[in-house]
Symmetry: C2
Subunit: 409 residues, 2 copies
């Protein structure tokens, strides 16, 4: 089944600048019944620093066990990403199959096995097709430093468009490059819609700083989006640096020199995260939820997530129905500290409820017009303390059901 391109897809996909020392190859291992590439191999001229964060799923893919072990040293010379098979719930055979692929790359390119990372996405529980992958890698494909788009395409599953974002940041008076590619459509939709993110930079900063920044910014970006509340066995985000930029080496993440880099890294990760939501299965609207005035930031995030994951809120927005009573319900079911006689709810600039009752001054006609937009902002002010959070999600449409009722068979 080929899905229609999301109506929220970007109109143009900008190509990305190359980063010295990063070589990109793509291959077709025939993991789909379609003529498309399904492998992306990144080879690095020298060993690079890598940071990575993982899904908290208790049934995660063996690929993440492998990477987590390698991450203790945190040096990478090659990264293989495959779509078409998640290598999750594949038991001991899954680990053996993974090692066959790693060994093959190790021999072919003379790389220590402990510097080869891997990421997989696709169907769960099916044997990992390592022979097909090894056969595909035997082909001598053209090495392209500019293969970013090809890589973004090769890692797609039910994604309806490839996801890339590039920017530059200043460290001292030197420009550094930040390139990101990601996949996912329906965050956290297993079998197919695993969320994978790969960020590459030439910034000359320590591995400890990379890991710390990734963890923090991931929480505010990739971990602040949701499509259906389901969490993949394979979700992962990597941040890899060549350290080749000519500015002064930065060892601490708190160094003021990193101010702009942090902002720009967050902007790339947020952009990719939003691209994933916009490609949410069947999405017709992007929904931004801001919760302020909670007891803590954590409480705010729980309330925001409760709204974002409520099927009734998501179907109402699909129906362009300003049914804010469902938002009241979702706030209530979050079980956080709430005073029902205090909090307020706005849809865009329209205050619809506050102090325990409906705002009798809002105009239904204005509100209905607002609901027709393809980006809806829900703002909740709990008026307790200062905790705040933001979550991005999308609506639930008939298309979501159609896609997911017919994925495997």
């Amino acid at each position: 089944m080929i899905n229609k391109i999301s109506p929220l897809a970007p109109k143009i996909i900008k190509s990305m600048k190359l980063i010295q020392g990063i070589n990109i190859y793509t291959y077709c291992a025939g993991l789909y019944n379609l003529n498309r590439n399904d492998l992306a191999l990144f080879l690095f001229d020298s060993e690079l620093n890598i940071a990575e964060v993982f899904t908290k799923s208790r049934t995660r893919s063996v690929t993440l066990d492998w990477n987590e072990k390698l991450l203790k040293k945190g040096k990478i010379k090659a990264l293989l990403i495959n779509s078409g098979n998640a290598n999750a719930y594949t038991g001991k055979a899954g680990l053996i199959a993974l090692k066959e692929v790693i060994k093959n790359i190790s021999n072919k390119f003379t790389i220590n096995m402990n510097q080869i990372f891997i990421a997989s996405t696709g169907v769960i529980g099916e044997p990992y097709p390592y022979k097909k992958i090894i056969n595909a890698l035997a082909v001598n494909n053209e090495n392209k430093k500019s293969n970013w788009l090809a890589a973004a395409k090769a890692i797609m599953t039910t994604d309806t468009y490839p996801k890339m974002k590039m920017t530059t940041a200043l460290i001292g008076n030197r420009k550094v490059q930040i390139n990101g590619v990601a996949k996912g459509s329906g965050m956290i939709a297993p079998n197919m819609a695993t969320m994978l993110g790969f960020i590459f930079t030439d910034a000359n900063i320590s591995r400890a700083a990379l890991q710390s920044l990734l963890k923090e910014i991931n929480e505010e970006t990739f971990n602040s989006i949701t499509v259906d509340g389901d969490e993949s066995t394979n979700d992962t985000v990597m941040l890899i640096s060549t350290n080749k930029a000519k500015h002064k080496f930065v060892s601490s993440r708190n160094d003021k020199l990193l101010r702009d880099f942090k902002l720009k890294l967050k902007s790339v990760m947020m952009d990719l995260a939003e691209q994933i939501v916009k490609d949410g299965e069947g999405a017709t609207k992007l929904i931004q939820i801001n919760v302020n005035g909670a007891k803590t930031n954590k409480a705010a995030k729980k309330v925001a997530r409760s709204i974002a994951e409520s099927p009734l809120v998501k179907t109402a927005i699909y129906g362009e129905d300003p049914n804010w009573g469902r938002i009241v319900m979702a706030i209530g079911k979050s079980k956080q500290i709430i005073d029902p006689n205090k909090f307020s709810i706005s849809l865009g600039d329209n205050l619809v409820a506050s102090n325990g009752s409906k705002n009798l001054n809002y105009k239904e006609s204005v509100l209905k017009k607002y609901m027709k937009k393809n980006r809806i902002n829900i703002l909740v002010d709990l008026k307790i303390e200062l905790g705040n959070a933001q979550i991005m999600t999308c609506d639930y449409s008939n298309e979501y059901i159609n896609i997911n009722a017919s994925y495997k068979s």
Copy 2:
């Protein structure tokens, strides 16, 4: 909008025996733009014992605040149930409106206000239409002890059929009657699909025993169903007894005399709970999930709920797709103690996965045939310890989206 009757609706609705001392009236207060009753008034010949359990929502209806206060004494002479308006998120005006209705019933039937309970279901955040309700109650309707079906119909919102269940139990050598009515379609769907349950009996048992039994059995029945994971502001279940049965008075819930009564009470509550799931918005299949071998019963319930509330599992079952990889995902995202190399998953009698990998012996053709049934059993054995739980749910269909995208406007 009138919804199609659920394909899972019972073929016949059996009428229920009357219970001496319980009088039932129904009225049309015009709370819908349809010619239908929307009020059910239960009047009792004497003050009866009542037990009640409530939603845990932090934005619950003022009706539940009212009842909770009265429940300290636990005596009831009248119960009013209205559909069409939830009286939730209605602020102080909601409480004033509620009291107007209570006062009216108090004057009209000469009943102490503190013995008049109320339950509401319908739209959230709209002013409570107390004048319409008072006007409707002014009509002298025929008192009917046999009005059970009329009452079950009057309390419906998006329900596609009325829900009743009757049985008898033995206490000593005396038969006692248990009559239940309920409403809900999409447990926990606010604005419309609040879950309300009302159980009546003539058993001669203490109020403390009633409350204790209700709490325990509610956990295993009404609290073990889910349609969409959303939790209503108005969910409540009441257990009311006339105490008129001629057996020896039973004061303790642990009295052996109550053995059969407990079983039968549970069967009535479970039957009503299943009827609610079968009327789940857009449901085409009933899904029973059993989780065994968990660390604790609580952990088992969390795993079962994670499966039951996974949109990806629910859409796969709608699509008759034996996509058990999604069950692996849902087990993982529950965050409970799990050994991925141990647990097993069966769909009906078909073992599909165990010990960390796919069961290579199951027949895809047999499994595909099984998925066509309208009742699907998912059995997970975590093989850790002995905790177990059961959850009933239904699938997600296009109809779910259609109903919920077009409810309010």
